[in-house]
């Protein structure tokens, strides 16, 4: 089992939830930098994927998830279940990614098949 497991499910196979530790969350806001923005402006004329933005939002999401995991670790959890992601464009040119889930303490279940 990895250091801190995250999952969109409500349970983990082979483990039982021994303790609920409440909601944990992490968010990150990033702005596109000028060069990328200008390139994206051109790309907007012809359509297609804006790779710069895809990468930017991926980094943002990773950071949000990391922060959420950090918070979970700080309160002594070893997994975050039922994780959800949400993106919103707070102002023109910046996006926020928000990750949240419930922090739990898992223990190997007795008599499990795995």
């Amino acid at each position: 089992m990895p250091k801190l497991l995250i999952s969109t499910l409500e349970s983990v196979p082979g483990y039982t939830i021994s303790k609920h530790l409440g909601l944990v969350q992490g968010s990150s806001v990033r702005a596109k930098h000028m060069g990328r923005d200008i390139m994206a402006g051109f790309k907007n004329m012809v359509g297609g994927e804006l790779k710069g933005y895809t990468e930017l939002l991926q980094e943002t999401r990773d950071e949000a998830l990391e922060r959420m995991q950090g918070e979970a670790e700080a309160i002594g959890a070893n997994a975050v279940l039922n994780v959800r992601l949400a993106t919103s464009s707070v102002t023109a040119g910046a996006a926020e990614v928000f990750a949240y889930g419930s922090a739990v303490l898992l223990a190997p279940s007795v008599g499990a098949a795995g």
């Binding site: 499910l9 409500e10 196979p13 907007n44 012809v46 991926q58 023109a92 996006a95 098949a113």
Partner: protein, 152 residues
């Protein structure tokens, strides 16, 4: 004279959007169909409970930011005026969702997963507040990949 130049620029942009935009969309659809065929073995289940316990789980996530071309957006502007189906947005969102699913599946396939459980989507308009080129969306698909134990 000024108005004429502006009109000319507008026409050129429309033309560029139409030519390159249609080609890009066609290419994208072809690539999506091809990859969907390759990854058909990996099944997505919108279900929360696992039927079996002898497996590992991993968080997988795919995302894409995609824009519609200038020509289609202008067309959509007219539709906005008269009402009706907005084809420009329909294809934009469809492509974005299918692409996001594919990227999530590719990530899951790398970890030798067979199934992806409880998949969720999140969609966001990235240029909502700006007037110019409003057709830019981000779609994220995420879920839990189910990886059977090596002995199974």
């Amino acid at each position: 004279m000024d108005a004429l130049i502006q009109l000319l620029i507008f026409a050129v942009l429309l033309g560029i959007g139409f030519i390159f935009g249609s080609a890009a969309e066609k290419r994208h659809y072809a690539s999506i169909r091809q990859r969907e065929k390759e990854l058909r073995g990996l099944i997505i289940v919108p279900e929360k409970r696992l039927p079996r316990q002898d497996c590992d789980t991993a968080f997988v996530c795919g995302s894409v930011v995609i824009a519609q071309d200038y020509f289609k957006m202008t067309l959509a502007g007219f539709v906005h005026f008269f009402g009706g189906r907005m084809g420009a947005y329909e294809t934009l969102l469809e492509r974005a969702r299918r692409e996001a699913i594919l990227r999530m599946k590719e990530q899951a396939a790398q970890q030798r997963a067979r199934l992806i459980f409880n998949v969720k989507f999140s969609t966001c308009n990235l240029m909502g507040q700006e007037q110019r080129g409003a057709g830019c969306v981000e779609v994220t698909a995420y879920g839990t990949a189910i990886i059977p134990h090596a002995r199974a």
